[in-house]
């Protein structure tokens, strides 16, 4: 395996993203059309230019027809990807291989999720055994790592919850600068700490919302990107680490760390040639489906040492003004989390940041951006890491 074989081979020349939120009046098709046409316009291409497409959706799609039908793509190779919350990002990754090998010159990638038609808050249950593992929710499964993480590092639950609340406050703050975010209002530390419990120790503001949305990207070989866009963004590398997904059952799994995420990060750093992520990554979009996910991902991705994340949060390391701004657009917490769209939404934020187009949330002189879409939950993680960089 040559993990760096993809580095600088593929360019993103256009991206689009719908308003994320409770899109009561938009269907899956509506959202895909809006996101993709925005990406077409950004790249300066049309439907007829698209040679192949990848569509990512966890539960709102059925095959490539999900994309072909609304966009009227005719007899094109279209693949539907599903890889839990990493779905949109894995669609991008697969599409990049299609481009990097020289097969395609113009590829569309889209991700979409329609969650608010269900009639209830939270996610549907995807893989259900009649009795085993029954009756648990996503916040419940993520809360398991909070309980044990606090124990391992001798953090009192109140202290731990305070650090988690600070992450929520930060991401809501960043969301106020993102016109397309689901939530665009500040919250206070007290609000976050006093919110109703969803799955102790996690409270309401530790959880991302249930969101509808779509995002899209147009990619092409790096050597022709300049003819479409002067400030294209380069794909530097990917990392994916799935399995064996038996932590809930494996007594060696310690529930205070995300080993799969660490492995995915390592792959991506090697692919991108990054030696010191804390110093070299300018901006990061991590997977804050729950605040405890963001906290433990800082450690797994090498942004800080194991057990240090609470101190780093208290020190403000990951705020917009901090040393390594994380979730600059509000993250899943404030921007929202339409599963299949999330990975591409993260890449869209990097695409804006790396080109200096992120407005009031713009970080200074970014060079490398990292996005990490975390499928699953502790014990059953499917993390996917993408590193994008500015063109030389």
């Amino acid at each position: 395996m040559k993990v760096d074989a993809i580095r600088d081979k593929v360019a993103i020349i256009g991206m689009g993203c719908t308003k994320f939120g409770e899109n009561w009046n938009m269907s899956v098709e509506d959202m895909l059309i809006d996101a993709v046409y925005e990406a077409y316009a950004d790249a300066g291409v049309e439907a007829k230019d698209i040679e192949a497409a990848w569509i990512g959706s966890v539960a709102s799609a059925f095959t490539g027809e999900t994309l072909a039908r609304p966009l009227k793509l005719k007899a094109k190779p279209i693949t539907r990807i599903e890889n839990a919350c990493g779905t949109g990002m894995d669609a991008l990754r697969n599409a990049c291989f299609g481009v990097a090998c020289g097969f395609y010159d113009m590829v569309l990638v889209a991700g979409v999720e329609k969650l608010k038609d269900s009639g209830y808050a939270g996610l549907p249950e995807f893989f259900v055994h009649p009795v085993y593992g029954q009756g648990f929710t996503a916040p419940g499964r993520w809360a398991l790592i909070a309980t044990r993480y606090f124990q391992t590092y001798g953090i009192k639950p109140e202290e731990g919850k305070r650090a988690l609340a600070k992450i929520a406050v930060k991401n809501h703050h960043n969301g106020t600068f993102s016109p397309k975010a689901h939530f665009q209002r500040e919250i206070t530390l007290e609000q976050a700490l006093n919110a109703p419990i969803i799955a102790w120790p996690l409270g309401l503001f530790d959880c991302c919302p249930t969101t509808d949305g779509a995002a899209a990207a147009i990619i092409c070989p790096a050597d022709i990107a300049k003819s479409f866009k002067d400030d294209y963004v380069l794909v530097k590398g990917f990392g994916v680490a799935i399995g064996p997904c038996l932590g809930k059952e494996d007594i060696d799994y310690k529930y205070d760390h995300l080993p799969e995420t660490e492995a995915a990060g390592r792959q991506a750093y090697e692919a991108a040639g990054i030696k010191n992520p804390r110093k070299e990554i300018s901006v990061a979009q991590v997977h804050d489906c729950f605040t405890i996910a963001e906290l433990t991902e800082y450690e797994a991705l090498g942004f800080c040492e194991l057990g240090r994340a609470v101190q780093e949060v208290e020190a403000g390391t990951f705020t917009l003004e901090g040393e390594l701004p994380a979730n600059t657009d509000g993250g899943l917490k404030a921007f929202g989390h339409p599963l299949g769209a999330t990975g591409l939404r993260m890449c869209n934020e990097l695409y804006l940041q790396l080109r200096g187009k992120a407005g009031p949330r713009q970080v200074k002189n970014p060079r490398f951006g990292l996005a990490m879409a975390q499928g699953g939950h502790p014990g059953m993680l499917m993390p996917i890491v993408t590193i994008l960089g500015c063109r030389d």
Binding site: P130, V131, Y132, G135, P139, R141, R148, A199, K248, E249
Partner: protein, 471 residues
């Protein structure tokens, strides 16, 4: 001579103070409290618990019969004993029978077990009786009826010899429940007491003493069924039993009338307190009487693991109010909030995974020796393929490795305590915690496993194991 070779009991963790029932409905209330099955329990799961209690340290492959007695069979058509035998990991050749529809079902099953052993058609028969009856809201039955289960292992030789049995059938409409009804009904009190219970018990006991040339005064302890505390007192008076010394306490104030399990539960309580040489008499009632006498040859050995009536009486928690009871027993339709659709099920998956689901079988790799649940064909630790043997985990204890209190998960008794439990033998169980106080759940607490009802998806009962704080 057939003998009782082991006994077990099960009294659910929750109790409802009768003053709470009085508070709900106004008016008076009876003394004490009653045992209430958790929302995830029924007669089948309670019978499994009592059976496990009786089978500590006993080779389950040696059990060749399982008789299940209840008036509250979860299924009208489908055998409860088959589910119980699976959960108890009994051999396929065990003869499973349900004894139902009568308050005498428990002693009917006992008689059948004694006869089977006597006739040498079986060597070891486990009799399990459980009931979870409902009195109509506001009724006297609601106060009196309690939930519980009991188990007796009948074998060829043991410390408690079966001496004699006598049966007496008497058709009378005193107490009943139609197929279409949830609540037990009865005729007018005085008729029920005088012409039903008291008259029958008196006639049957006298007839049995006469037939077998026995004298009531010779019995050290009498385990006497009664519909309620007053009936029990009156029967003792009529039979001239010395209620201070000669009568086993019937637990009306602590458990309530546990139906088909009741007489046997009182007997097991008597056995737990019996000494060598004691003579015990058992009297049940329900459309007649079954009467048995026993001789205690030696004080029965109790395994330390066995909780018995005494153990289960001691460990309990009170339902905070009557409304919780209403919710547990589904006496009202309640709004559970808009949550994702509840459990789905498939009879095919349950069948395919039956050993994992009912016997909680995990896999132990025969190549590297490490164990895993649920069973894996490819070993996580050494990658060996299809080199494993199945091991049942039901009797293992464990420590709580991590948990959360999930308020979003749908449950009759939120929050769901999602639990990762590190079991004895270096393997892990992931599941729900039951019979717990959410405020007292803490890391590293000791847990064991219990057979429960997960839900009713697809219109049948989906049983599986949960963890619970050790009682």
């Amino acid at each position: 001579m057939p003998a009782i070779t082991s006994t077990g009991a099960y009294i659910p963790y929750y109790r409802l103070k009768r003053e709470e029932i009085g508070r709900a409905w106004g008016g008076g209330h009876q003394r004490g409290e009653k045992a209430v099955a958790n929302f995830d329990e029924d007669s089948i799961t309670m019978a499994v618990e009592a059976g496990r209690d009786a089978l500590h340290g006993i080779d389950r492959q040696a059990i060749d019969g399982l008789y299940f007695a209840t008036t509250t069979a979860p299924y009208k058509e489908k055998q409860g004993a088959a589910v119980i035998a699976s959960a108890l990991n009994l051999k396929k050749g065990a003869f499973t029978v349900d004894f139902t529809d009568s308050l005498r079902a428990g002693t009917n099953a006992l008689r059948a077990a004694m006869d089977a052993v006597k006739a040498a058609s079986a060597n070891n028969v486990l009799v399990v009786a459980a009931d979870c009856r409902l009195g109509a809201p506001g009724s006297e039955f609601e106060q009196v009826l309690g939930d519980g289960a009991v188990a007796l292992l009948i074998g060829k030789e043991g410390s408690i010899d079966f001496v004699s049995s006598y049966t007496y059938t008497s058709e009378i409409i005193d107490q009943w429940r139609l197929d279409s009804q949830n609540f037990t009904k009865k005729w007018e009190d005085r008729f029920v007491a005088t012409q039903g219970y008291l008259a029958n018990v008196n006639e049957a006991v006298n007839a049995s003493m006469k037939e077998q040339s026995l004298n009531l005064k010779d019995f050290n302890k009498v385990a006497l069924y009664a519909p309620d505390a007053r009936g029990h007192q009156e029967a003792c008076r009529i039979l001239k039993l010395d209620s201070k010394t000669q009568v086993q306490a019937p637990m009306f104030d602590t458990v309530g009338n546990t139906g088909a399990a009741f007489a046997l539960l009182i007997l097991v309580a008597a056995v737990e307190e019996a000494g060598a040489g004691d003579k015990l008499l058992l009297i049940s009632y329900g459309d007649g009487c079954d009467i048995f006498s026993f001789h205690v040859k030696e004080k029965p050995l109790m395994s330390k693991e066995r909780r018995g009536v005494q153990g289960y009486l001691k460990t309990k928690s009170y339902l905070p109010n009557y409304e919780k009871y209403v919710r547990f027993r589904k006496l009202m339709e309640v709004e559970s909030g808009r949550r994702r659709p509840p459990q789905v099920s498939s009879a095919v998956v349950i069948h395919r995974d039956r050993r994992m689901i009912y016997s909680l079988n995990g896999s132990e790799c025969t190549s590297c020796g490490r164990a895993f649940f649920p069973p894996q064909r490819v070993c996580l630790y050494c990658q060996a393929k299809d080199q494993f043997k199945e091991i049942s985990l039901t009797e293992r204890k464990g420590k709580l490795f991590t948990f959360c209190k999930d308020e979003l998960a749908q449950s009759i008794d939120p929050p769901v305590i999602v639990s990762v439990v590190d079991l004895e033998g270096n393997l892990r169980f992931y599941g729900q915690m039951t019979d717990r106080d959410p405020e007292k759940v803490e890391l590293d607490m000791t847990l064991d496993l219990t057979f429960r009802k997960m839900g009713e998806a697809e219109g049948y009962y989906n049983y599986f194991w949960k963890c619970r704080p050790v009682r």
